[in-house]
Structure formats: structure tokens, C-alpha cells
């Protein structure tokens, strides 16, 4: 028996050696130590940052970079406690990340910073100390935004006093703090301006001077119906318009004009029949826009009035010129967050905080393209270049 086995093994080895001989090429050379991959200096428009608060271990926030074309995981950032999202510099040459740390992990002295990351090396190249007041909340895009010219980074604070930290990105210094009592978050409206949404449904329209200090502030009239059908804080911007959607699916437009902020036309995502069938928008990052095609994308599901945070298995697409739905995209999995790339061959990314799979669709046709598994732990906001 042993003889038979030995003979068989010899035969296999002989065949193996023969095979190797047949394809023999240059010998494999030793790999050098210390090689670290880098990314191209210019980001692909089809990359997406998947931001992750890591809800089960919040001291370990992460931002994960994925290429939507290949599905390749490109790298990540470690971003501290209660992480909300990265903000990409307008010129693509820097990544800003508002972060919080404690001297003993989950206790001790709290330090808040804006960490500056090199987008090619995904490593920190500097940090800006800011007051330890950064709001800890379910991540929203309006937690931190750049003014239109990229000169100032605006960061929402909640202690529970409400204010906005202003960081000068040119000098890389904390520029000051703007008190916004009764008003939350920051929605940029120009090179030196933004608004916050107030609890009474009005807006706080703030303009800055070149030093990042307040030059004017106006409490507008009520823009939203807060008591009967509030808009979510999950607005999206398309040029000189901010679009907000209410729990019940009414679209509100806030227009940025030379006369100030004005209410635009209101319309509904839903027909009467769809409303009767309990269709409504839902999710954490439930809206996306594509500027050149003038399209609004909304995650939709069927459910009662208190399901405004539920994920959906459909994305409805609207022509913003006609206020009409032009497409229904069926998703493979329920999504709570969507994003559409800015280019002319746009991708639609879909994720859900309760799943670690990122799905990629053709945003124009709605065709499913691919899934990327094991992206983070509790993915929240999707940010594209």
C-alpha cells in the first residue's frame, strides 16, 4: 500500500515539476520592505467616501474609500469619536475631517480638531484645534460644510447651546464661533454665507466677512410647516436652490436670490393614489441630486407617519423642471443612504446603516452594476468628489 502511495506521489510531483518547467519565467524577486500604496492625485468622479460612525464602538469612526467602477476598496481614514463625515476641499487637494478625541479613549480630556488629510496618501498632514463643542448626532451632511469658495469650513455645535464653528481653511486656523440660538446645522448659500434651520420653521440667514466673522444675520419668516408636516434636515442643493422634503413627501425649495432667501414652489413626490398607499420618503441620506440632468433622487418606502427614518427598496427619480417622476429604480436591498456622482455618466450609490454592503447602480438607467461587501460597520453618509 505504501509503495502504491509513494509511486502516485512521485508521479504527481513529476507532473507538477514538468508543468512548472513548461511555464518557467524569471524567478520571483524579493519584495522590498516598506512599500505603501498611494492614490492618484486627482480623484475619480466615481469614487465614494462611505462615512461610518461605527455605532457599536464610537471611538473608532472611519471613512472608507471605494471605487464605484471596479468595486475596489481603495483605503480608509481613522476619524475618532462620534464621526459624521469628511468634507472634500473644492480643489480636491485636501480632505477635512471634524473629529473628537478623549485622552483616555472614552474618557478624559476631550479634544476637537479638524484633521487635514492628504488625499493621495490618506494620511494626516495637519490639524486645526476647534472648541470641544462639535455636535454629536446622527450624521447629517449639514453637520459640516464649506462655503462656496472653500475659504471657510462651517461646523455645527450642540452643547446643547447651538452655534457654528468657523475655520479658515486658508490660514488653517479657527476663525471664530457664531451663536445660532434656536437654529441648527449649516447650509451654504454663497462664498460668504449660509443658513441654519430654526425650530419655528424660519431660517437664520448668515453672511460672513473675509475674516469669517458675522457681517449680517437675518431671521427670515417661517419657511416650513414644522408642526403638521416638518421637513427633514436632509436637504440637497442644486445651484441656487436648496431642496427639502417633508415627512409626508412635500418638496420645499429655498431659493438663494439677490433679495435673500425665498420660498420657491412646493410640490409633492406623491400622487394622491400613492399617498393612499402609504408611500413616503425615508432614510438617513434620503435625497440626492444630479445637476446636469436636473434630477432629484429619493428613497421611498411604504409605511406610516412615524417611518420617516425607515430605509426603502425603491429610488424614485424626478425631473426638477417639471416636478414629475420620470423613473422608479428597484434596489436589491433596502437603502437608507444614496448618492449620485456629478459626472455625465453618473453612478447611484446605495447603502444602509444596518448593512455593510455598498450597492452601485447606473443612475441614468437604474441598472444594477455591482455590490461591494464588507464596507465598514454602520455606514452613514455617502460623499462623492
Amino acid at each position: 500500500m505504501r509503495t502504491v502511495r509513494t509511486a502516485a506521489l512521485a508521479a504527481v510531483l513529476a507532473l507538477t515539476c514538468h508543468a512548472h518547467t513548461a511555464v518557467a519565467g524569471p524567478a520571483v524577486t524579493a519584495d522590498p520592505l516598506g512599500v505603501v500604496a498611494t492614490l492618484p492625485a486627482v480623484a475619480s468622479p466615481h469614487w465614494v467616501w462611505v462615512n461610518d460612525i461605527v455605532f457599536s464602538h464610537m471611538s473608532d469612526g472611519q471613512a472608507l474609500l471605494v471605487d464605484g467602477d471596479s468595486g475596489r476598496f481603495l483605503g480608509m481614514l481613522s476619524t475618532g469619536f462620534g464621526f459624521e463625515r469628511v468634507v472634500l476641499a473644492k480643489d480636491g487637494k485636501l480632505i477635512f475631517s471634524p473629529e473628537t478625541y478623549f485622552s483616555r479613549g472614552t474618557r478624559g480630556t476631550r479634544t476637537d480638531v479638524v484633521t487635514l488629510y492628504d488625499p493621495s496618501r490618506l494620511s494626516p498632514v495637519g490639524e486645526i484645534a476647534i472648541p470641544p463643542k462639535r455636535s454629536a448626532n446622527m450624521p447629517m451632511m449639514a453637520d459640516s460644510e464649506l462655503t462656496d469658495d472653500g475659504a471657510f469650513l462651517l461646523i455645527y455645535n450642540f452643547t446643547p447651546a447651538q452655534s457654528i464653528t468657523v475655520v479658515d481653511t486658508r490660514s488653517r486656523r479657527f476663525a471664530g464661533e457664531i451663536e445660532t440660538p434656536g437654529c441648527a446645522l449649516a447650509y451654504p448659500t454663497g462664498a460668504r454665507s449660509f443658513f441654519s434651520i430654526c425650530a419655528d420653521g424660519a431660517l437664520l440667514d448668515v453672511h460672513l466677512d473675509d475674516a469669517g466673522h458675522v457681517s449680517s444675520r437675518v431671521h427670515t419668516r417661517d419657511m416650513f410647516d414644522v408642526s403638521s408636516d416638518p421637513v427633514t434636515e436632509k436637504g440637497v442643493r442644486l445651484g441656487s436652490r436648496w431642496l427639502f422634503v417633508s415627512y409626508g413627501g412635500t418638496v420645499y425649495s429655498i431659493d438663494i436670490t439677490s433679495r435673500g432667501l425665498e420660498s420657491g414652489p412646493r410640490w409633492s413626490l406623491l400622487s394622491d393614489a400613492e399617498r393612499r398607499q402609504n408611500w413616503r420618503p425615508g432614510g438617513l441620506q434620503q435625497l440626492a441630486v444630479h445637476a446636469t440632468s436636473d434630477r432629484l433622487y429619493a428613497i421611498m418606502h411604504q409605511g406610516g407617519p412615524e417611518t420617516h427614518k425607515d430605509p426603502g427598496k425603491e429610488v424614485w427619480v424626478y425631473d426638477l423642471g417639471r416636478h414629475q417622476r420620470v423613473q422608479r429604480i428597484a434596489l436589491r436591498s433596502p437603502a437608507g443612504s444614496i448618492q449620485v456622482t456629478r459626472d455625465d455618466r453618473p453612478l447611484l450609490f446605495a447603502a444602509f446603516i444596518g448593512s455593510t454592503t455598498l450597492e452601485v447602480y447606473d443612475a441614468k438607467t437604474g441598472s444594477y452594476l455591482r455590490s461591494v461587501e464588507n464596507v465598514g460597520t454602520t455606514p452613514t453618509l455617502l460623499v462623492t468628489p
Binding site: A136, N137, M138, A184, G282, H301, K309, P334
Partner: protein
């Protein structure tokens, strides 16, 4: 400033991650992914869950968003050992099916350690956006705690008073 009531609520939409609790595993936030109820669950089971403080369906949890302290070494009204109950929170109004009355519930967070990780629950009855802070469960209501400023562990659901 802060009305010293109500609660935190970071989670917003972690539905599918619900762990613990057992009998009725679906969070409202996961309704989009909801599967048919398992056979064998009866209305009596559902009513029992409404009186079980480790259940997401417990009546006081109608607007909670986070890990249930009753599953973490505390209870619906007490924090687990070694944590700190934040005094600043948000309030909801929940209906108690046992006596047919509505109560004002204060969702104080327990703070100072990493996430408990058990019995994740997100329900959103009367929940408002972040711009109405003291009615929003999307804030980390450990914010402002003088000794444990923002590390969130779990959420309680204290009865404040009958709603009138």
C-alpha cells in the same frame, strides 16, 4: 437654554442591527426590510412585549433611539453600573396600554463608556428633526454631561408625568 427634560438618540436608523430583545426582532426603522412575522407569535406575545422593559416594543420606548439600558445592567429608569445619567435629554409622549393613559417620557442617556451594544432599538413616534432639539432622538444626549461629555452607553426611558 436646555429645558431639562428629554433625551438623546443617536441611532436614527440602525434597524437591522437589533440585537437582544428576542421575541419581536424588528425595529420600526427596518420596516423597509421587514419580513412576515414568524408563525406562532400571538397578540398576547405582543402585549407582553409592551410591558417588558428589555423589549423594543415596551410602551415607554415609543420614541427611543439607542441601546436599552434594561439590557445593559440597568433598567428603563436606572443607568448601568459605572455610567453617568445625563440630565439633559429629550422627551416623548407614549401610551401605556396597561392603564390606557399617556405619559411624558424622558429619554436620559447613560454616558461615560463605549456603546453597550445590546438591545438596539429605534422608534420614532413624534420624533422631530435636529432643528427641534428637545424633540429629536438623533442627538447624542450625553452632550453636555459635565463628567462624561458625549461617550454614549445606553438609553433609559423615565416616566416624568402623565401627559395632559
Amino acid at each position: 437654554m436646555a429645558r431639562r427634560t428629554s433625551r438623546r438618540g443617536l441611532l436614527g436608523s440602525l434597524g437591522a442591527l437589533l440585537v437582544g430583545v428576542g421575541a419581536l426582532p424588528l425595529l420600526p426603522v427596518a420596516r423597509g426590510a421587514e419580513k412576515p412575522a414568524k408563525p406562532g407569535k400571538t397578540e398576547a406575545d405582543h402585549q407582553d412585549a409592551k410591558q417588558d422593559e428589555t423589549s423594543c416594543h415596551y410602551w415607554r420606548h415609543c420614541a427611543i433611539d439607542g441601546y436599552l439600558c434594561g439590557c445593559c445592567g440597568g433598567s428603563a429608569s436606572a443607568c448601568p453600573p459605572g455610567t453617568v445619567q445625563s440630565p439633559v435629554t429629550w422627551v416623548g409622549t407614549c401610551h401605556n396600554p396597561a392603564d390606557g393613559l399617556d405619559y411624558v417620557i424622558s429619554y436620559n442617556d447613560c454616558c461615560g463608556k463605549s456603546s453597550c451594544g445590546r438591545c438596539l432599538c429605534n422608534r420614532n413616534e413624534r420624533d422631530m428633526p435636529l432643528y427641534v432639539p428637545f424633540r429629536s432622538n438623533d442627538y447624542d444626549w450625553c452632550t453636555g454631561s459635565s463628567v462624561a461629555n458625549i461617550p454614549y452607553h445606553c438609553s433609559t426611558a423615565r416616566v416624568l408625568a402623565r401627559a395632559t
